[in-house]
Symmetry: C2
Subunit: 386 residues, 2 copies
């Protein structure tokens, strides 16, 4: 798989630099793999130094040759270690910045002082909000990558009907699903920003597993395998007539789509059938309303109103502590912006991409719902997944 | 799977409190899932407040009922949110600490100021080194969990011979391996401390994949699937007569073992056969020497001397930037202490657990080596994996 095209990188950097000037950052020093990949096209261990004006400098700790092959950037140097940073910048003629941006949302508190010591005259501010705002809007190249992920992911969901059977466990279904995805190039790893690496790879929730309260700020995540891993598939066997929700993010090398499908062997209880119809209606109405200029909070309110009109507001988006959002941005990470959250004034723009996941939980019975990944277009959001 | 026994939790807390008094911490406020699980037995979203003397307080954000079912602790309260922390502590009679310990190695720099604001009179210091030192030494209950993981993991490795074939890709082998492990209860998620969540789930490296320089501080990690995921299995097809290294951590619900096995279809080139014999000899000699009182640096030196005696020091532990360690602690996380690193003065004690992984790389040809997980006993380290 090739890296990010040169034009793409150029555009991204130009947009970031424009935002940096507007927000008063004189330089940025990026360290997170995903951000460095986004702006430099390589996932090697690098620091990416971006002045608000002028050319960025890619400093590669390891592996230098691999990074050189992958990045379209031209100023690439080996990076012997953190302490060499000020000297390298000085030698290359970069003035030390008054306001330096770093990713303070992911940089550990114990590590920040090391950078502060290297830039004693600088005020280090969090540059992540700028980056995340930029990453919301996908280019046509990115949309192509997302469509490719959606196509591959659809092939995995298509076969679930072949191996879902009463008596098989959630874990066995997960094993089949993941193996199929893996053979198609799934990374077996989904990147979340800022959350500690404890999120399950995907969810298979049969019957009551769908309604167990989650330890994550998500609508439903299942029982998991143990108190140490309390989310994701469990060893519970699937029964006839109960809902089986399968919720997996699909990452086939770079960009992520998120998708949920409801399965059942035999008919579901009428209340669950009704709730599933409402979930599908909510998805359709919210997608149609998701035009440039709409706020995320309006979309949440629309979904909630529809749930309430169906008398299902108590079952909406999880149990005991329901999620306060109905959708989330996806891209290189699963928890990107925009977040379709209650009260959010975030405004949608064309080519933003989000997963929309109206879901209903029924304590003891389980959960139903749907999730697709959409791109915002002028006349509403269009599904990328299928 | 049940949670951690009450006695176990009690002993761990008593040991931590003893260390806290010695190091001048008046209280600790733990937030990381793994640490909270270690000291409270639940993986729910909690803060664990531990005074240097007296009873700890488990504050549960979500889910309260699940946490109550899992933890053997008795002082458990719902936690409405961060801002309520000082008031809750005051109401329960905890004095505000002068020196407060937090996990500054994983707490983001942007988040620390929020805690500092809640504890304006406190000096917040990094308590992680105390926790990691404590977690090095495993109890007999923990060794039982590790043996269980080792038994399950052995069953997965046993079957590799059935599906490894020329023409199959590394990714296909990974898919089979992971599916088998998953059906046995593998979590499909390996926790690393402090590293951003970008590490591959496991490694399958055929021929040259074994000798590609890594972007991680590890001896070998393969090509991976793309520049965004540049480690782990690739789509390269396995050929006859080349080494295929399979390196997977086994986590079947809680504790992790780490293991590497070398496979080949047909004979390996003589230099690789010789190197594999040297790797096995190094593993045996280092394990025999890993007695309580030995330093980690001595063990690294022993391994290096044996590699050098065989004329293989240029091939030892990776290419271009070889790893500077030959083993690492394992437990709830894959990168625990002790680290068997060059120059380390860390002293081994009985019941410490580490993975030992002497490996050799041959640019263009691939890599060979072995890895087992051991426990330190009075007369040397004994393998848990088999």
């Amino acid at each position: 798989m090739s890296s990010i095209p040169r034009e793409e990188i150029k555009n991204r950097l130009a947009l970031l630099q424009k935002l940096m000037i507007k927000e008063g950052f004189e330089a940025a020093c990026l360290v997170q793999t995903t951000d460095v990949y986004y702006f430099a096209g390589t996932g090697q261990d690098c620091h990416l130094y971006i002045p608000a004006e002028g050319k960025p400098l890619l400093l590669v700790y390891r592996d230098f040759e691999r990074a050189c092959q992958e990045t379209p950037l031209t100023d690439v140097l080996p990076f012997p270690g953190l302490s060499s940073l000020p000297q390298i910048l000085q030698e290359r003629g970069y003035p030390l910045p008054k306001y330096l941006g770093m990713e303070l949302d992911i940089l550990p508190a114990a590590v920040l002082p090391r950078y502060q010591k290297l830039f004693p005259g600088s005020i280090i501010k969090d540059i992540t909000p700028l980056i995340l705002n930029l990453r919301r809007v996908k280019s046509s190249w990115e949309l192509g990558r997302l469509r490719r992920a959606a196509d591959l992911h659809a092939r995995v969901f298509e076969l679930v009907g072949d191996y879902i059977r009463p008596g098989r466990t959630e874990l066995e279904i997960a094993a089949e699903f993941e193996a199929h995805a893996r053979r198609l190039g799934h990374t077996a790893l989904i990147r979340f920003r800022g959350l500690e690496p404890g999120m399950p790879l995907g969810l298979v929730m049969a019957g009551p597993s769908g309604s167990v309260p989650s330890c994550y700020p998500l609508p439903l995540t299942g029982y998991g395998l143990s108190p140490a891993f309390p989310a994701g598939p469990s060893c519970r066997e699937i029964k006839e007539g109960e809902p089986v929700l399968i919720d997996y993010a699909g990452c086939y090398g770079d960009y992520i789509v998120d998708q949920t499908r409801l399965f059942s062997i035999g008919n579901l209880p009428p209340i669950l059938q009704k709730a599933q119809e409402v979930a599908l209606a909510i998805a359709a109405e919210v997608a149609a309303a998701a035009r440039p200029g709409t706020t995320c909070g309006e979309l949440y309110d629309l979904a909630y109103r529809l749930a309430k009109r169906a008398g299902l507001e108590e079952n909406f988006m999880g149990w005991r502590m329901p999620a306060k959002f109905i959708g989330h941005g996806v891209g290189l990470e699963l928890n990107e912006k925009p977040v379709l959250a209650r009260g959010s004034e975030e405004v949608l723009a064309a080519d933003m991409v989000f997963a929309l996941e109206p879901k209903f939980t029924f304590p003891g019975l389980g959960a139903v719902g749907v999730e697709e990944t959409y791109v915002v277009q002028d006349d509403g959001a269009v599904a990328l997944t299928h």
